[in-house]
């Protein structure tokens, strides 16, 4: 079947949406390759379709069988981001993969919430270690009625806030921050690995 200009526009529109969706998480060379392959699929399907006066119906059926562009992009995302995260164990791919699962599944959402708290806590401790030498009086162990309640920073330091602790706060904050970061990161990788196995099983 030979497509009219309207049909060609419809196909180009589909490919445009697909490309835009893929660009959010795939490198540009892989996006080009994926779009080229889907375009090849569509051209093949259209060429083998029996000529029909109602071109629109035929084309919509072909596109429906292929799946909405966002769904196809999501499938690429699921295959790509989780594999990359598990294989490399790098921070950015792991965050991207967890973010993807959080946006698409309930389990992923609650796991991502837990992991977010873990990462933010670790960054908080590391930030205290960085801030302590710059603002020695604003960072330390906070005491309430003589009892230590945790490490913290106050800007500005209001009267009545009891912050104590010397520079030993730095290694303690670093130890806690890095420990929580490593624990959270391992947890994230283990979760993605479990998810991947579940998908393959």
């Amino acid at each position: 079947m030979q497509l009219s200009d309207t049909g060609v526009s419809r196909v180009n529109g589909y490919l445009f949406v697909l490309e835009r969706s893929l660009k959010t998480f795939l490198p540009s060379d892989l996006v080009r390759d994926a779009v080229r392959e889907i375009e090849s699929h569509l051209r093949e399907r259209v060429a083998s379709a029996v000529a029909d006066p109602n071109e629109r119906d035929v084309l919509e059926r072909i596109l429906a069988e292929l799946g909405p562009p966002l769904r196809v992009a999501q499938a690429y995302s699921a295959e790509r981001t989780i594999d990359e995260a598990v294989t490399t164990g790098r921070f950015v791919p792991i965050v991207r993969a967890v973010g993807h699962l959080a946006a698409t599944t309930v389990t992923g959402f609650f796991t991502a919430l837990g992991l977010l708290i873990g990462y933010l806590t670790s960054f908080g401790f590391i930030a205290l270690a960085v801030l302590k030498p710059i603002f020695p009086d604003n960072v330390g162990v906070q005491y309430v009625r003589g009892f230590p309640i945790g490490l913290g920073a106050h800007f500005p330091l209001r009267p009545g806030i009891d912050l104590r602790g010397g520079y030993w706060v730095i290694p303690v904050a670093l130890f806690c921050g890095l420990g929580i970061f490593v624990g959270t990161h391992r947890g994230a990788r283990r979760f993605l690995s479990w998810w991947r196995e579940r998908r393959l099983s």
Partner: protein
């Protein structure tokens, strides 16, 4: 777990094996793989989701992909099984058969028990 979820998991589990089996006979391009799968199974629900799986199997080194120009008015991306892919396929086939046999035995035993109870 709902029946649909169970079916979906079963379908996903079989899809990698089905794709590797499809290209084991010789190189095939995406649509030819989909048509082959559609002819023998009902594993393909959405055609567009097969391509990301082909991409993953290629990244895992089980398949090798190559664009071929001039064969049709448009280029086609052919997939063929690598040596690693052939080994994996052989293992998967053995595991699948063993698994199906065990489940079959279990089903037979359950049916025998049902008949005895009647």
């Amino acid at each position: 777990m709902s029946h649909e979820t169970w079916q979906e998991q079963l379908r996903r589990g079989g899809l990698d094996l089905a794709i590797l089996l499809t290209v084991s006979a010789g190189p095939r391009y995406g649509l030819a793989i989909i048509q082959h799968l559609e002819a023998f199974t009902d594993l393909v629900v959405t055609e567009g989701t097969i391509y990301p799986i082909l991409g993953r199997l290629t990244r895992e080194g089980l398949l090798e992909a190559e664009w071929v120009e001039g064969e049709a008015p448009h280029a086609r991306k052919y997939y063929k099984l690598t040596r690693t892919g052939a080994t994996r396929l052989s293992n998967m086939k053995a595991e699948w058969r063993a698994f199906a046999e065990k489940i079959g035995r279990l089903m037979d035993a359950a049916e025998r028990t049902d008949h005895a109870a009647l």
